[in-house]
């Protein structure tokens, strides 16, 4: 499979089986962050407004806010169960699922340090409020006032290795990232 298709920068989740393993970390600069990949959104847009709720930092998503009535088709009992679990995980970071993370609530405050090559002062950003690499990169560029195509995003993971961001599914990235650094692309 063509490498292009494997870089999921859009709001999609990917089966972990179909992605390159970590040993293929080094990527050519033109394979990352190029415009056509950003726009090759893996999803068709839904007919109706799907409430893509990013308010994770308040952790108080009201089930009633959702734009589509009766979807997904879970009955009221299940809805109450989901609401209860959401409150639980927000309150106590309860879910200790190994690779499942803490749900919406657990991603509440995930501040990491971000440096940009050539800029002396580092910043901090809350990863919990983003849902995708695309969103993160856009915010970083806005923060530093730079153009996206000039930089590539790298990160240091929990093992201390520096990797190019974008290879692993977003959720896995968020759990393992410890620091971010934007490096100038070498032409």
């Amino acid at each position: 499979m063509d490498n292009h298709l494997q870089l999921h920068l859009a709001l999609s989740t990917t089966s972990t089986r179909n992605l390159p393993r970590n040993d293929e970390k080094k990527r050519k600069f033109d394979e990352s962050f190029s415009d056509d990949e950003m726009t090759s959104n893996k999803r068709t847009l839904p007919l109706l407004i799907w409430n893509d709720n990013r308010n994770m930092d308040c952790g108080c998503v009201d089930v009633e806010e959702h734009a589509v009535v009766g979807w997904p088709p879970v009955n009221s009992r299940m809805r109450k169960v989901a609401e209860h679990h959401r409150r639980e995980s927000t309150a106590s970071n309860y879910v200790t699922v190994d690779n499942g993370g803490g749900g919406g609530g657990g991603l509440n405050s995930m501040y990491v340090k971000v440096e940009m090559e050539g800029i002396g002062i580092a910043r901090k950003i809350n990863l919990g409020i983003f849902g995708s690499y695309q969103a993160l990169t856009a915010a970083l560029m806005a923060m530093f006032g730079k153009r996206r195509e000039m930089y590539k995003l790298t990160y240091r993971d929990k093992e201390g290795d520096w990797l190019l961001a974008g290879d692993v599914p977003w959720e896995r990235f968020v759990r393992s990232v410890r620091r971010l650094k934007l490096l100038k692309k070498v032409w």
């Binding site: 709720n53 088709p73 009955n75 299940m78 879910v95 749900g103 849902g131």
Partner: protein, 582 residues
């Protein structure tokens, strides 16, 4: 060449026929068989309470002992049917109270049941034994108190999934000390705490108790005591399964469970503390049904539990099980017949767990008897569906919900037509199908061509034109129930297939493209169909006829098409061909 058996002989022969289908066939043979059969039919099932009236039922079947009935359409579970639409049990209960003093069983689903109805039941039938209220609403714990107090021979009280106004837990204490006949008690949907000592005494004096489903308010510390009084239990629903971790609580619980040699089904498990799960390990090898759909249990603990249940036939679980847990399930539970995986965070935009199409593929590969699936996930591919279809041609029920509406095949970005097509083509015995994801008219062509045994189909956010609906209505020979929401299906397909609707129980269409004019035309063309326009925007004839209706519910009926309990947002065709509400 007239010969006939005496009536008593025929009646005796008919008594061996339990299926309604067989009895219906028998009653069509000739008038005398019709007469004999109707006098000895004791049990009926009414799939739509508005398809017939109490008077008609009572007139035909004077000796009923058991009545089972369904009210609101299935989509009512998802708030698509406005409150007050109907399905009131009272007229039936009142009519039957007079006609059937020996009635023993009432089972209702999706109906509105009042305390008044419950009180009437408790006082009218001297030999009342079984009350099952599934997804019902409209009553309070006061109504339950009447049942408990007055039904001397009560065997089953099952309130599964009903919405009960919980005034107090005191109702349970109304069971008299002389009541020792309980076989099944399901109070899992109730909120308040019942008097524990009343509950304990009730359980202790019910030697035939086989099913006990507690509510969340029964604490774990008390569970062992209850179970000890009923080691003959076959089905147990725990209350809250959490407690401070104490070894005496644990060992007491483990001991109590180990005495339950007949236990086959477990449910409940609210607020689970995983450390207490091993207390049930001693019964796991006998367990055939496990309902963990309220339990937030991490995948690793789930796997430990499930791998002990080698005889598991039915598993209902939250998506915390993840792909890895489903793989373990596939490896340990070779007898699995039914799997339901519910979403723990259905409204979250991002997945909170690692559950994908792969989990379903694993189970379809590893479990040769799997025939019924309900699966919520966030991504799907045609490749996976095709693999699933090839692995499991024995599916009877296949319900897949990809959480984002119109999600395409995440690998190829194509619609999921080929995938669902493979399901209907390979699974020749498929009776129920629910679809989701990006789907064009093509999938409906596959369904119309292959799904000849399909009885119930649920469609949402799918299709491109009337052709899609036409394929289904013209091709699915066994179709009984069709429910559609948010699809571009309209007048042409419905009107062209009007006669088909007479062979089905019902058709539900909401947020589609059916016009008011077409509804009127359909009702005029088909006198035995009730065409209900359910629209909260005011009278449909205050708008142009070409205006699309919010919802239309079409069902065949031999009762009046102007039901007396219609609310002001429901319109049906009147005698003078105008739509009005009563």
């Amino acid at each position: 060449m007239a010969y006939s058996f005496p009536e008593e002989v025929l009646e005796h022969v008919f008594s061996f026929l339990s299926l309604a289908r067989d009895r219906n066939a028998v009653s069509l043979v000739c008038k005398s068989w019709y007469e004999i059969e109707r006098w000895c039919r004791h049990r009926i099932f009414v799939g739509n309470c508005y398809a017939v009236s109490p008077e008609i039922v009572i007139r035909r079947f004077p000796e009923l002992r058991a009545v089972e009935m369904k009210g609101k359409p299935h989509f009512a579970d998802f708030n698509l049917v406005p409150e007050g639409w109907g399905a009131y049990a009272y007229p039936w209960i009142a009519a039957m109270a007079e006609a059937y003093p020996f009635l023993e069983e009432i089972k209702l689903k999706r109906m509105v049941v009042t305390d008044e109805s419950l009180e009437l039941i408790s006082k009218s039938y001297k030999n009342f034994k079984v009350l099952v209220l599934t997804s019902c609403e409209g009553f309070t714990t006061d109504g339950l108190a009447s049942i408990a107090a007055n039904c001397r021979h009560l065997r089953e009280l099952d309130l599964r999934e009903s919405e009960v106004e919980d005034l107090s837990g005191h109702w349970l204490s109304h069971f008299p000390d002389s009541c020792t006949s309980l076989v099944s008690l399901n109070m899992s949907c109730l909120g308040s705490e019942v008097s524990f000592s009343s509950l304990e005494r009730l359980v202790a004096r019910s030697p035939n108790l086989r099913t006990l489903r507690l509510n969340r308010a029964v604490p774990l510390e008390k569970l062992a005591n209850l179970v000890r009084h009923a080691p003959q239990l076959v089905e147990l629903g725990t209350g809250a399964y959490s407690s401070e971790i104490r070894s005496d609580t644990f060992s007491s619980l483990a001991d109590a469970f180990s005495a339950c040699k007949q236990l086959k089904a477990l449910s409940g498990f609210w607020d689970v503390v995983p450390s207490y799960l091993p207390a049930v390990y001693s019964v796991c090898s006998g367990i055939t049904s496990l309902n963990l759909s309220y339990a937030a249990i991490p995948s690793s603990d789930l796997v430990k539990l499930i791998s002990q249940c080698q005889n598991l036939q039915r598993l209902w679980v939250l998506d915390y099980i993840e792909d890895s847990g489903l793989e373990a399930l596939a490896a340990s539970c070779k007898d699995l017949q039914e799997l339901r995986v519910f979403p723990s965070d259905p409204f979250g935009a991002e997945p909170n767990v690692s559950l994908t199409e792969q989990g379903l593929v694993s189970v379809s590969e590893g479990c040769p008897k799997l025939e019924s699936v309900l699966y919520f996930c966030r991504q799907m591919s045609n490749a996976a569906l095709i693999a699933i279809a090839r692995n499991r041609p024995n599916f009877i029920r296949f319900r897949l919900c990809i959480i984002e509406p119109q999600a395409a095949d995440y690998l190829t970005l194509e619609p999921l037509d080929a995938g669902f097509g493979a399901i209907v083509e390979n699974c020749k015995e498929l009776r129920r199908l629910s679809m989701s994801g990006l789907l064009t008219d093509r999938v409906f062509k596959y369904i119309g061509t292959h799904a000849k045994k399909l009885e119930m189909l649920s469609i949402a956010f799918a299709g491109e034109s009337d052709l899609g609906l036409h394929h289904v209505l013209s091709g699915c020979d066994s179709l009984r129930k069709l429910e559609i929401r948010d699809c571009p299906f309209g007048d042409k397909a419905v009107l062209a297939n009007a006669a088909k609707l007479d062979t089905m129980r019902s058709l539900w269409m909401s947020s589609c493209s059916v016009s008011f004019g077409a509804c009127k035309l359909l009702a005029q063309k088909m006198p035995r169909l009730n065409v209900e326009v359910i629209d909260e925007r005011g009278p449909p004839d205050s708008r142009p006829e070409s205006c699309v209706v919010e919802r239309v519910y079409v069902y065949r009926t031999v009762a009046s098409r102007q039901r007396l309990d219609m609310p002001d947002f429901v319109w049906t065709l009147d005698e003078d061909s105008s739509m009005r509400y009563s």
